[in-house]
């Protein structure tokens, strides 16, 4: 591919839409990822993405715009997972595992009984930059504005819950509300990014940047900032490389994130040794 061709593709409206949506999703996922990874709750993204896949399969079978069904379904699922995992005797990963596999099975069944696996469902499973519409762009801007605003407004509360839940409880802070808040924001982010990244890959945007940034962050604040920067850089690098080499976008972005994570782990180990 020549440089001229590359820039011609990059200035196409569908690519611009995909880049804007991707940057917003990467940013939101990285912010939430810090909390979810530190609280060992990062798989919730994967669970919610599977629920999203089932809801999209249902929407496509019914001929309804997927977002109208996936947004409420994923939000409700996030609350149910959080409520169940707070009960004694049920761990968070069990609740997520049950929700994820059941949803995936329902999604596959609906798809099989409906039109079978077609291009639409494949886009939602593996992601596609061609699939991002202007309506998706507007919705992503609105949802990411909600996620970022709530995150900044409740930053101190989010930190205390992440750092020490017992102390937060003893200070009279309602820990449950903030757990639900994190879950709610994660659900919004998953819905936002599913079309672009694919339901099978979206959770990587939550996990990788936080793990990568953890190797060089000196404080919680620096972890949040560096995770966000790292996520956006990996996304941009991933989308550029996949356009250049005509590769699947979602998978390319995940691989760039994985390489960055391995690099930062090696760096972290070298610094520790010295």
């Amino acid at each position: 591919m020549t440089i001229d061709m590359f820039f011609t593709i990059l200035t196409q409206p569908f690519v611009i839409r995909a880049v804007v949506v991707g940057v917003l999703v990467s940013l939101c996922a990285a912010l939430l990822g810090v909390v979810l990874v530190l609280k060992k709750y990062s798989l919730i993204g994967h669970g919610l993405a599977d629920v999203g896949f089932a809801s999209i399969a249902l929407a496509l079978a019914l001929g309804v715009t997927p977002m109208y069904i996936s947004l409420p379904v994923v939000l409700i699922a996030s609350f149910i997972i959080m409520a169940v995992s707070q009960k004694k005797g049920v761990s968070g990963d069990t609740a997520i595992g049950v929700a994820a596999t059941t949803s995936l099975a329902i999604g596959i069944m609906i798809t099989y009984l409906g039109n079978g696996f077609n291009a639409d469902i494949s886009d939602y499973m593996f992601g596609s930059i061609n699939a991002v519409t202007t309506a998706d762009l507007i919705m992503s801007i609105v949802l990411s504005a909600i996620v970022i605003t709530v995150y900044v407004l409740f930053y101190n509360r989010i930190f205390i819950i992440t750092c020490d839940e017992s102390f937060a409880k003893a200070s009279g802070i309602n820990v449950s509300i903030y757990r639900f808040l994190i879950s709610f924001l994660t659900a919004l982010t998953i819905v936002m990014g599913m079309k672009m990244m694919g339901s099978l890959l979206i959770s990587s945007l939550i996990i990788f940047p936080a793990v990568t940034a953890r190797n060089f962050a000196s404080s919680f604040k620096s972890l949040v900032i560096s995770s966000a920067i790292c996520s956006v850089i990996c996304f941009l690098l991933g989308i550029v490389l996949t356009i250049c080499f005509d590769l699947p976008t979602g998978a390319g972005i995940v691989i760039v994130n994985a390489v960055a994570m391995i690099g930062s782990s090696i760096y972290g180990k070298l610094v520790k040794k010295n």
Binding site: L38, V152, L153, F154, Y155, N156, R157, F159, I160, T162, C163, D164, E165, S166, F167, A168, K169, A170, S171, G172, I173, N174, R214, A217, S218, S219, F220, K221, S222, L223
Partner: protein, 232 residues
Amino acid sequence: MSILKVKNLSVGYRNLNVLKDISFKVDYGDYFCIVGSNGSGKSTLVKCLLGLIPHNHKGKIEFDVSTQEIAYLPQINTIPREMPATVKEVIMTGLQKSGKRLPFYTKKDAKAYKSTVKMLDIEKLAKKKIGELSGGQLQRVLLARALCRKPKLLILDEPTSGLDEKSTGNLYSLLDKLNQEEKMTIIMITHDLDDVKFCANKVLVLDNEGIFCGNISDWLKIRREGHCHHDH
């Protein structure tokens, strides 16, 4: 005047009674120690007072102060060592109160932080990660987190466990100073009453045979005489 009144408190896990029918009161300015053998329910009592184990107790717990005026130093550090948080970030969380939801800390908060770290002589640790601290340093940081909100009541659960002799001595003199000079009420679970017999004024003894609640001098006298009076 009492800062805390506990009446007929019973706490149980399933069919097991951890605490049964306990009554006591703590007055303003008291240095109140809770002692007892392992498994006697000392930590359970404190956690129950703080609402950390809800819905499984009977009886009355009445605080004369709000949650915002109570600070707690747990027995075990509940912050994971791998948490990438600095000492300053952790201490500042002590300034978060239940009703206050400001996204940023105020100038008053910054002032409270400065005076607390100065008092505990941990100014130099501000930028260190929590996982890089020694046991003694970590305990002082957690105490700073509890103290920076200027509480009226400080509750400590075996604060010296894992500390060396010097750090233990420093901590006790600080608690004594807070109680004497700042008139802060202290409730402390302790393993060894001998360490605090000159500072504390009241004691609650929990053991399998019953409980004792009263002046520490009375308890030490009973113990010296070798027979135990149990007060229900």
